[in-house]
């Protein structure tokens, strides 16, 4: 899931020109779980902005429940069919969702002015209702087969592929003494799995061409093609 956090209210309120008609859009999936753009938060944002004199013409969190804002077809449909009048009346949109949801609204409203209400901070695991943690950096070149399932790019502050460095103390990372050294965690896990030999293997440098942005995924019948600066990479996933 994409973890998001609202920008400061002052910053958001500062976006709008006097009289600018704003329609607020939230997301019932990740932003709802992060309490940044679910139904309560989106309604609250509309109210708070109105209280500050912003001309909010409406708000919505596209349904059905749990659907992501980043599904272009659904978002476009909901905005046009269920909120058409307000959407057409609006000068701009404020989006309470991740950057992907944000861009979906941009696409769904034919490129009008869209303001970002949130910072998209990381991709995370919903550990509980109260906690979302980052375990994957979306690097496009997964190596956790060789590190006991724990990602060195994410859990090591230096993203070392051949770790550890010499900075850890008592199993804690040099950047924060409350944070576990990623390679200590990997070492412990590999030992427990009796796969410590994998730590002895040389890991070559990362292919940063696969991190190059923007990237895309094209889906065909029984196959998928990933496009990045590393080229086009097709995988057959169904015989």
């Amino acid at each position: 899931m994409h973890a998001t956090i609202q920008k400061p209210l002052d910053e958001i309120a500062g976006y709008f020109k006097p009289g600018e008609k704003v329609f607020v859009v939230g997301c019932d999936n990740c932003a709802a779980k992060c309490h940044s753009g679910g139904i309560p938060e989106t309604e609250a944002m509309a109210d708070r902005l109105k209280a500050r004199g912003v001309n909010v013409v409406g708000w919505c969190v596209p349904q059905p429940p749990g659907v992501s804002l980043c599904k272009l077809a659904n978002t476009k449909k909901v905005l046009q069919e269920q909120y058409g009048d307000q959407v057409n009346d609006a000068d701009s949109f404020l989006v309470l969702a991740c950057g992907q949801g944000f861009h979906t609204v941009l696409d769904a409203t034919d490129g009008g002015m869209v303001h970002p209400g949130c910072d998209t901070i990381f991709g995370g695991e919903t550990v509980s209702d109260d906690l979302i943690n980052e375990y994957c950096s979306l690097c496009g070149e997964c190596v956790v087969e060789y590190t006991g399932g724990l990602c060195p790019v994410t859990l090591c502050a230096k993203s070392l592929l051949n770790g550890p460095c010499g900075g850890a103390k008592n199993g804690k990372c040099e950047v924060d003494r409350n944070r576990d050294c990623g390679w200590q965690l990997i070492y412990d896990r590999l030992r427990a799995l009796q796969r410590l030999d994998q730590m002895r293997e040389y890991m070559p440098p990362k292919a940063h061409s696969k991190w190059s942005r923007p990237r895309s995924l094209h889906l065909g019948t029984g196959e998928a093609t990933f496009s990045s600066l590393a080229g086009e990479h097709t995988v057959v996933n169904h015989d």
């Binding site: 502050a157 230096k158 993203s159 070392l160 592929l161 051949n162 770790g163 550890p164 460095c165 010499g166 900075g167 850890a168 103390k169 008592n170 040099e174 950047v175 924060d176 390679w183 200590q184 070492y187 410590l196 730590m199 002895r200 040389y202 890991m203 070559p204 440098p205 990362k206 940063h208």
Partner: protein
């Protein structure tokens, strides 16, 4: 062959020193520190933005040492440069007469005075050693031939006091396989712990120079424990320093350093002395340790 490489090959107990470049372009103090080490050490490490604080570059200061007839060890970290810049800097170092390189990961930017700086770490120290070894063989990392190849003497670091120790040993072996020909360790204060490390590390058959950090005060020791990556001063030493009168601190600093060196001398091939600004004590340390 560099003097350092020769000294290690010849097998005598080898002594290296270290200077830290300033934040600025006034090199007078830094070069004076280096001059004080002349004749006392075989080579002088020059740190690379130590503690992730922006300073004048290691390469520039190393080049100045070469000009003055001193032998530098160019410390090169992975923190600030991508693989292109790292390989380029290795070639540039060679062109400037630098022959020894210590390949390090590098302290994270949050430890420095500009925590918003982007941490690069495009390569880690093992990958950097491999890249440097490749340059020495006349090819860059991706197999392209070089117009003229360097023959850099490559070194790496290990933390003998790490607990658990095994990850450090695993990485040390990878560094040797990647081309590390000598090791300088992080600071050691406890000879018996160091012996435990040496027993495990000697199978790698590389020269090891034990790291000695000169301690100015108990406060400094505590500060380093909290803030400096890779340094762990034990309580016994902190207490020893606390019980020392202020006017005797320099003497005590020399005593602790020299004593530690004498105790670990039989276990390794040399010592790397990190004076952290008290370079004037190095000659005394060398003498008291019985190394001159």
């Amino acid at each position: 062959m560099s003097s350092l490489q020769e000294a290690l090959r010849d097998g005598g107990f080898t002594v290296t020193g270290e200077i830290g470049p300033p934040k600025g372009v006034d090199l007078e103090e830094c070069l004076k520190d280096a001059d004080r080490l002349r004749g006392k050490v075989v080579a002088i490490n020059v740190t690379d933005l130590q503690s992730a604080v922006m300073r004048v570059g290691s390469m520039a200061v190393c080049a100045k040492l070469v000009d003055r007839g001193l032998e530098p060890v160019y410390q090169l970290t992975c923190r600030d440069r991508n693989r292109l810049a790292l390989q380029s800097d290795l070639l540039s170092a060679w062109v400037l007469g630098i022959r020894n390189v210590l390949c390090l990961t590098g302290d994270h930017p949050v430890l420095g005075d500009d925590s918003d700086a982007k941490p690069v770490y495009d390569l880690d120290s093992v990958q950097l050693l491999k890249a440097a070894s490749s340059l020495n063989l006349g090819q860059d990392m991706t197999g392209h031939d070089l117009d003229g190849k360097p023959d850099l003497f490559l070194g790496a670091v290990v933390t003998p006091t790490a607990d658990p120790l095994e990850p450090q040993l695993i990485k040390m072996e990878k560094k040797v396989e990647a081309g590390a020909k000598f090791f300088q360790t992080q600071a050691v204060y406890e000879p018996d712990k160091f012996e435990g490390f040496i027993n495990q590390a000697q199978r790698f058959k590389v020269p090891i120079l034990v790291g000695i950090v000169v301690l100015k005060s108990a406060a400094m020791a505590k500060f380093m424990n909290e803030n400096v990556a890779g340094i762990s001063v034990p309580d016994s030493i902190i207490t020893e320093m606390q019980e020392t009168a202020k006017e005797d601190r320099k003497k005590k600093a020399v005593e602790i350093a020299a004593r530690t060196i004498r105790q670990v001398r039989p276990l390794c091939q040399g010592v790397h002395i990190m004076p952290l600004g008290w370079d004037e004590l190095v000659p005394e340390i060398v003498e008291q340790a019985g190394l001159s």
